[in-house]
Amino acid sequence: MSEKERAFPLKAEISDEDIMEAMKDISGYLDITPGDFKEVYQTAYRHAMSRISSSVKAKNIMTTKVFSVKRATPVAAIAELMADNIISGVPVIEENGKVTGIISERDFLSGMGVKGAKTMMGIIADCLKNKGCMAISIGALKAEDIMTSPAITVSGNTTISEIAGIFGEKKINRVPVTDSAGNLIGIVSRADLLRYLPFKEKP
């Protein structure tokens, strides 16, 4: 099952009893069987889903106040930035504003040479076993040393269904949004996407 299918419920949950009740509520003889009605309803629901998910675009849901770092930014400063702002990833931009890469928590773990499962628990376990943390070993590194590059980016007109597809396919949780010149204009995270899924109440 693709990410897109998981993000959008494929079928509207409606029971035969719901339909019978609705048909009773509507006065007069309805020239349709409950089974046919259900089929019409569910097909219409799928059309609505694809209409909504193809009409909402990256520019509508992206966070425009994006924290970013430069190639030369020390990893310690990046860690601090991510910790202070409770974010799990930052784009790395060139001096001219173009997106060159992205750093996520996973890149930190990779940069530290964590073997096996690259999780926070892996780091903790390692610290406890080795009397000292591997994290220290990357203290001298810069953004460009640990970033994933080139970054996967989308344009402002990319639809949220496409973004959901990219998240699933590339196994990423955020994607920088760039203008036609490649300059950073925003970022869309999984949280942004969830908030704008059709028929979900806004928090």
Binding site: M23, S27, Y29, P34
Partner: protein, 180 residues
């Protein structure tokens, strides 16, 4: 494969719910007044003429336009279009194929179904209107293409007028759903 074929005959869903007593009563009133009008004209005005005002298929139309008023099959476009198109096809079929009555009958009904579909005017009583043009006897045959106007066109129009008047009296009822 055969199993799947027969499994299809078991059905997949339930019969729609029964309508309210009020709806049943209004359906009865519509049917009574609608058929009453064309039948009265037929027996009081057309009795001793060569003309008729009522045909059997009007009974079927009454079920739809007074009893299932939301149905696409019961809308004015379908009522008038279905009857008139089918009447023309029925008369034509009789004129062309009256030496082979079984063929003229089948041709009239089948072609009516196809043409009503093609013109988005499907109205089941239209099939009866086409068939009556073939099997309706000498009085009907003598009408020729007039059959499409009197009784079919005019009768259907009278029944439509009654449907518009009666179906819109109760608060919860409205007719039609669409005109074109």
């Amino acid at each position: 494969m055969l199993r799947a074929y027969f499994a299809k005959m078991t059905g997949t869903t339930k019969s729609p719910p029964r309508i309210s007593a009020e709806e049943i009563i209004w359906s009865w009133i519509g049917g009574f007044v609608g058929i009453g009008m064309v039948a009265y004209l037929n027996y009081s005005r057309f009795e001793h003429t060569d003309l008729v005002m009522i045909v059997g298929s009007f009974g079927a139309s009454a079920v739809l336009i007074y009893g299932a008023i939301k149905s696409p099959l019961a809308q004015p476009r379908n009522l008038l279009g279905g009857h008139i198109i089918s009447a023309i096809i029925g008369v034509t079929s009789f004129l062309l194929f009256h030496d082979f009555m079984w063929f003229a009958s089948a041709m009239a009904v089948a072609t009516s179904i196809a043409l009503m579909h093609a013109t988005k005017t499907l109205h089941p009583p239209g099939g009866a209107t086409a068939l009556i043009a073939v099997i309706g006897g000498e009085k009907i045959h003598a009408l020729g293409y007039l059959y499409a106007i009197i009784p079919v066109g005019v009768g259907a129009t009278i029944m439509l007028a009654i449907a518009l008047l009666i179906n819109n009296i109760p608060k919860k009822r409205r007719y039609p759903e669409f005109w074109i």
